[in-house]
Amino acid sequence: MLTYTYDGTLEGLLCCIFVIYECHEVPDEIVEESQLQFSFDQQLRTIETRLDQADRVWRGIGRRIGSGAQLKIRGVFLASDPQKATKLCRWVLKGFKVGKRIYADITSEVGEPVEALYRRVAREQNQMVQFARFEQKENGVWFARIKPEHSVVPLIMDHFAARFNIQPFIIYDERHHLAGIYDRQQWYLAQTGELNLPEDSAEEIRYQELWRTFYDAIAIKERFNPKLRQNLLPKRFWGNMTELQHI
């Protein structure tokens, strides 16, 4: 069994694809170095990340399949699935063969897993746009803490940076330790495990109380339906949501 290992970046994965074409071999799996598990019949090859190679493959994907494929790869690569690299690699190889027709392929054993991952990431991207809650800190920065399954912060920054362009804010993903920072000019990402947060502003506590009042008052008691609520708003989000933390 042939296994490629890469450094866990998208560029690394693209280099794996470069090597596949260079060496005329197809690995059985591609795994991140840090997550490698050894087995008996394993033949290992460590792929070095070289930006020029990655760039060539990336442009090749754009030319041969289309910019839609690049978008899809970007999204799927944010999924927290240990097999995402293997799945994506197979998908790109097939895409190089059939071109744009790969878009319609959502039921084959190559197309379906990538489509499924893509849907899951897109769904969570939506949910974060819906359910992220900002708090105003003393220094005037707005802060949102989220805990998504997949690392979707890069996908939601555009939305919030446009909508809240009058306020500097930070969205912190506490599962992947990734912060999206917007400074009223542009946004960027920072990988960090440590956060030193200022206190909440005085106004903040008042608005949180008002919001809870509204949330409790808007429900119609005669129609109490906790199951429906939980389907639409899964419990894993509740911990970071002002109105649901105390239920």
């Binding site: 319609a104 959502i106 746009v129 362009n165 608005y207 008691k221 609520r229 639409l232 109105e243």
Partner: protein
């Protein structure tokens, strides 16, 4: 009275309003201005009753001189009363919006002195949001029946969506339960909004031209408080879509808040009926069904046990079974259990490969209902019989008794030998030896 208390009273007074959608208009953000609007709408939370919270839904005031029997804010009802000042309301909206709690504001009002006065108050609050705070989020306002056309015009230029509640499905019911509101006073502003929207669409020649209610208008009516049939209700909403160019008609199952002798007392109207009406409404708006295909004089009420599309399909078995690999998108959308998303996925996937039943499963098409109406690669699913009565029984017999009772409160506990209602078809066949 502090703002928290006011908010509690005025939210409680607004909660029976059903519409809470932030959809219908795309407005990109602009540097230096707060907010944007997205055409599909965004739900920011879900209340304990499972309804989505997208907008800050409150009343400007719940003081009202009218005495509509079905309304919790009627003059004769002993409730705590409160009013927001425009400034308080604008601050609340902005404060909530910046925390990503809401998409915007849904503002309605009781009639405290006169319809004009109420509308002026609303205008003032929304003006503050739009002009002073330069707010670009979504605003939905209710036009108060009886307000002067000039004020409705002013309101329409400030908001994204305007709506007038038609309240009850027939004029007779309206006369009985809302003696202060005339049908004319409701349809008048509706026509004005329709014409306003059409006018700006025709006249707007440049990008920043003022637009009158760009997300159109909607309305709502209470069902189950008065004796109208589903046939009457759906015909009315179909007529509203046609002649008033509405975006949505909302239904709300009546919850007993009134004591009038003309109202059903005690039990709330079944939610299941509201649900079926919405399903029928979706068929009309999204699936290209006409109202006559859904209900007719012979079947004036929807069957509570199966959805309206199933009902139509069972009446039109000659249209089925259809082959998923060759059917058109429109045909696929007529299959019970396949929605707009599912139909599009099928059309997309079959460009790459012929579809089998397993592929449908991969596409997350739920075959529970669809299986009776489709063939896949020429094969009708093994073990099924293509027969109307048989399909109806199969579709309904899998419902558990509690669910059956929720859907149709008329259903009672079946007797010991009433196999039809108790057992799924398969199990019954096994028991009776009829395979």
């Amino acid at each position: 009275m502090d703002v928290n208390e006011k908010l509690e009273i005025l939210t409680d007074a607004a909660k029976y309003d059903v519409a809470c959608t932030s959809s219908g208009v795309d407005r990109a953000s602009r540097p230096g201005m707060l907010g944007s609007a997205s055409c599909a709408g965004i739900c920011h939370s879900f209340a304990a009753d499972g309804r989505c919270i997208s907008l800050l839904k409150v009343l400007m005031t719940n003081e009202c001189i009218y005495d509509c029997a079905y309304c919790t804010n009627r003059a004769s009802n002993d409730r705590p009363r409160a009013s927001f000042t425009p400034q308080e309301l604008a601050d609340l909206t902005i404060g909530f919006y910046r925390r990503n709690y809401i998409e915007g504001l849904f503002l309605s009002s009781g009639v405290s002195h006169s319809p004009d006065h109420a509308t002026e108050q609303m205008c003032e609050a929304i003006m503050l949001l739009r002009e002073t705070y330069r707010f670009r989020g979504y605003i939905h306002a209710k036009a108060i029946p009886g307000a002067s056309p000039e004020l409705v015009e002013r309101l329409g230029l400030l908001v994204d969506r305007l709506s007038v509640n038609i309240e009850l499905p027939s004029e007779r019911s309206l006369k009985l339960l809302a003696p202060n509101k005339a049908r004319r006073a409701i349809l008048g502003p509706m026509a004005q909004i329709r014409d306003g929207v059409a006018q700006t669409k025709a006249l707007a020649r440049y990008k920043g031209a003022p637009r009158f209610a760009p997300a159109g208008q909607s309305t709502q009516m209470i069902v189950g408080a008065t004796p109208e049939t589903d046939h009457q209700i759906l015909n009315l909403s179909s007529a509203l879509y046609r002649s008033y160019d509405l975006r949505r008609v909302f239904f709300s199952a009546y919850i007993p808040v009134g004591t009038s002798e003309f109202l059903p007392q005690g039990k709330p109207a079944p939610l299941a009926r509201e649900h079926r009406l919405y399903q029928a409404d979706w068929l009309m708006r999204m699936y290209g069904f006409s109202v006559d295909e859904i209900v007719d004089e012979a079947h004036p009420d929807l069957d509570p046990l199966i959805d309206p599309k199933c009902q139509w399909a069972l009446r039109h078995l000659d249209f089925f079974p259809i082959e998923v690999n060759t059917a058109t998108l429109e045909e696929l959308m007529r299959v019970p259990g396949i929605g707009t998303f599912g139909a599009r996925k099928i059309v997309r996937a079959r460009r790459a490969a012929r579809l089998s039943y397993d592929d449908l499963k991969l596409l997350k098409i739920v075959a529970r209902r669809a299986q009776y109406f489709i063939t896949c690669g020429g094969k009708y699913r093994a073990g099924l019989r293509f027969d109307g009565a048989e399909i109806y029984r199969a579709l309904t017999s899998t419902l558990s008794l509690p669910r059956r009772q929720r859907l149709d409160p008329g259903v009672t506990q079946p007797g010991l030998f009433d196999f039809d209602a108790l057992l799924p078809v398969e199990a019954r066949k096994a028991l009776t030896g009829q395979f």
